[in-house]
Symmetry: C4
Subunit: 272 residues, 4 copies
Amino acid sequence: AWQNGPALWRSAFPRRRPESHKYDYGHAVVAGGPMTGAARLAALAALRVGAGLVSIAARPEDRVIYALASPSLIVRDCAEPAAWEALIEDERLNALVVGPGLGRGDTAWQLAHAALATGRATVLDADAVTAAEGRGHALFRAVRGPVVLTPHDGEFRRLFPDLEGDRLVRARRAAERSGCVVLLKGADGVVAAPDGRAAITVNAPPALATAGTGDVLAGTIGGLLAQGMPAFEAAAAGAWLQGEAAALAGAGMISQDLPERISQVLRGAAFS
Amino acid sequence: AWQNGPALWRSAFPRRRPESHKYDYGHAVVAGGPMTGAARLAALAALRVGAGLVSIAARPEDRVIYALASPSLIVRDCAEPAAWEALIEDERLNALVVGPGLGRGDTAWQLAHAALATGRATVLDADAVTAAEGRGHALFRAVRGPVVLTPHDGEFRRLFPDLEGDRLVRARRAAERSGCVVLLKGADGVVAAPDGRAAITVNAPPALATAGTGDVLAGTIGGLLAQGMPAFEAAAAGAWLQGEAAALAGAGMISQDLPERISQVLRGAAFS
Amino acid sequence: AWQNGPALWRSAFPRRRPESHKYDYGHAVVAGGPMTGAARLAALAALRVGAGLVSIAARPEDRVIYALASPSLIVRDCAEPAAWEALIEDERLNALVVGPGLGRGDTAWQLAHAALATGRATVLDADAVTAAEGRGHALFRAVRGPVVLTPHDGEFRRLFPDLEGDRLVRARRAAERSGCVVLLKGADGVVAAPDGRAAITVNAPPALATAGTGDVLAGTIGGLLAQGMPAFEAAAAGAWLQGEAAALAGAGMISQDLPERISQVLRGAAFS
Amino acid sequence: AWQNGPALWRSAFPRRRPESHKYDYGHAVVAGGPMTGAARLAALAALRVGAGLVSIAARPEDRVIYALASPSLIVRDCAEPAAWEALIEDERLNALVVGPGLGRGDTAWQLAHAALATGRATVLDADAVTAAEGRGHALFRAVRGPVVLTPHDGEFRRLFPDLEGDRLVRARRAAERSGCVVLLKGADGVVAAPDGRAAITVNAPPALATAGTGDVLAGTIGGLLAQGMPAFEAAAAGAWLQGEAAALAGAGMISQDLPERISQVLRGAAFS
């Protein structure tokens, strides 16, 4: 396994090109749920990391909340899973983020399945991972395109209860089994691809142990996928950017500070 | 064609005068639509570039969203096209911005026509341009005062499907045909006037390829028109300011960062 | 007439004292109206200039908007003039700001009268001044305590149509007639007291000619009155602080930038 | 009595540990009431001082307001005292803040009692203290775990009308009687524990005499309790951090500035 850093994914990192417009950088969409902060953090991160457009699929009662997260976001009406399916029929939505703030219940499962059915790049995080407890194989069978799973330890155990070994071993086996890139979050975030590649993230400061940082990470990866970055590289780059952004913020950081810090990391980096 | 820069429009750029009050700097109004971020960005940009007052004509369900964009904005109730017509009977509203966030459908067409009928300075952007697809001549016949069209390439093709040649040639022909100043957006924004003047903008960084920057640009031009700047100069100055503002923001910029950066550009500039 | 500056009012400027609590610095209340930005700007300015507590009397439909202006503000339900009268029966509300954003109509007149009837320090601005057109004497007869009127030239002419002479002369005569401190706004803001004192403000940059700066000024004066500063000194200090705050902000300033800049002026000043 | 400073509680101050996740830093919950600014300030302070998660228990009509305070907060539906009782059955909510913005009436009393009944760490502030007027013994009998009372002088007198002596003496007697840590707020905040320990805070600048600073303080203490800091140390550290944060902000500070300044204090401090 490699140590996660720009050397690993620099050549695949999206670059702004002189002759281009926003549609060249993709359109990420985040499924919004009752815990609205999560989708807001994910969407802002996707925008900050360079997605050309970012939409939030919003329950009607949350429209004002999402609209006020940023005038740069697009808020789409999405009352229920059927509306999500209709929304993502639009193939321009080329990266889907499902999980943050969806809550327990069957909705997350339905949204995740609809996302996978499109074959487009998808991040499954948080409640979308939890919703697959006991039915992981049904989820994995639905995988048709690049998918990144971003469980923390508890979510990982629910989805892969039988896997043993250290975090690296377990992440690799999970990637192999699921056909997804697996980012096992934690102090040393492990990124593993179905083809056996793996990287360990070592730049995450402990300040990241605060509510909402996982949502930011899911959105960052979604934003990179929207720009056409391959799943393994996007997951690794997302995890590394998160660590750098948190280090810039320092002690007392909270998750709402991170999206702007990602922009700051990009300004100081040689790869974008 | 000239290269776009302050030398081209410095003498026409609005200046704050010692003995003056807000009404001396005009009152821009932005037509608000269902994608509320667009009108918010446009209105904030108009304010930042110096319009004395800026109003958003708001669907009632969007009132809270617009009010929270800034306490410096005025939110006016405007439920439908008829309300827009009534609102802009007020001649103090001397610059009208129509298009950002209006969505597809006939509303944009109606609002644009009502704006043109006033003979006051008008910016037609985004959905107002698209709405004229296949009926451009009807739109152009309605032009009575200074009008700036701000299409990107796709919108331009829909409005002028028969025009050929490079971007400069096409923008000039479109300006001639329409009687409007045409700002053909893109990496090298071309500004063309019906009288044959044209300028090419070369300071736009690729960071501008992100959602909402066109809305900021439309609002910036609207804010300059409100201050009495002629249409060609306002369009050119707006495009140049946008480029400078984006350069200041750097990598990771999103459109919500731009209005404040316009203020920063003005502080550093010799012309305002 | 003096030139307005700290020498004129430094000794009366409120100071934070070591052994004190928020109730020692008064409680300003701003009457909120349909143009919600105005009361928000006034309330934030009152808070920034040091009032111990600041409330907004809110129409119920504006509660969310006002609450989101700042968690440091108090939002009080106030559906109609009768509710305002009941609210200000509380004698702890020792400075009342009436006018910003109230709109034309009789409401401003009723709120102003109720405020004057308390005999407590009151700022009458904008629509509260306009509402007295043609019935100024009825307004002036109701004056029982310290009152600051803050008309701009147009509002002044409506309230004192017969007064002639230069701005200083007119402001002095208006103060004498009304029994109020009159701050005649403009590039050279004139402050005149009924006892004949007068000052001319010369530090206002032309950037102040933008929507909402008058609301900030009314709130600043209200915040100083709440802290027990006499009316003439409060009006003069408010006008001077406004000029300094705008100069700090520089070109591209909009009114929402001012309240925080007032804090910055206080940090750099020797008098607070 | 000691002088309050890091020497007193540095060893108990929560530290971010390399191998940890957000659940290791506790989950603070703030009871939200009709004056919504108070709970927002408290919740943001709890988050900034390092609580792993922070929730606001919201009246349904306040959901949008709380959600917009920060995407890093969790908003929980909580229509009435019975819903609060059900909510805090979740033992992961390990620090409860009751009082800020609840208003007069019996609700504060009911919420406080339900909080004490859990035996988990609790801060009782403001209206929760006032609500116990005349029935302090019933409140104190309900104490089962670590509790911090944070009255200002007026609230203290209502709860302990018979106690005499200087502030230190009275705070100590109140702590002894109540079985709670008592933080008697004021220019020299006194912290007293039931076991006789006491500290006097001397770093509070007079700028703290402004609305909402008490809410920030209650939240800060709640955030420290959530991380497992003992009650006396948490109260002392909270009071000291507040003073440092206000000193950083300087003149013109308002309470909404404080939560971010707490992060800044932590970045500059040697103890976190």
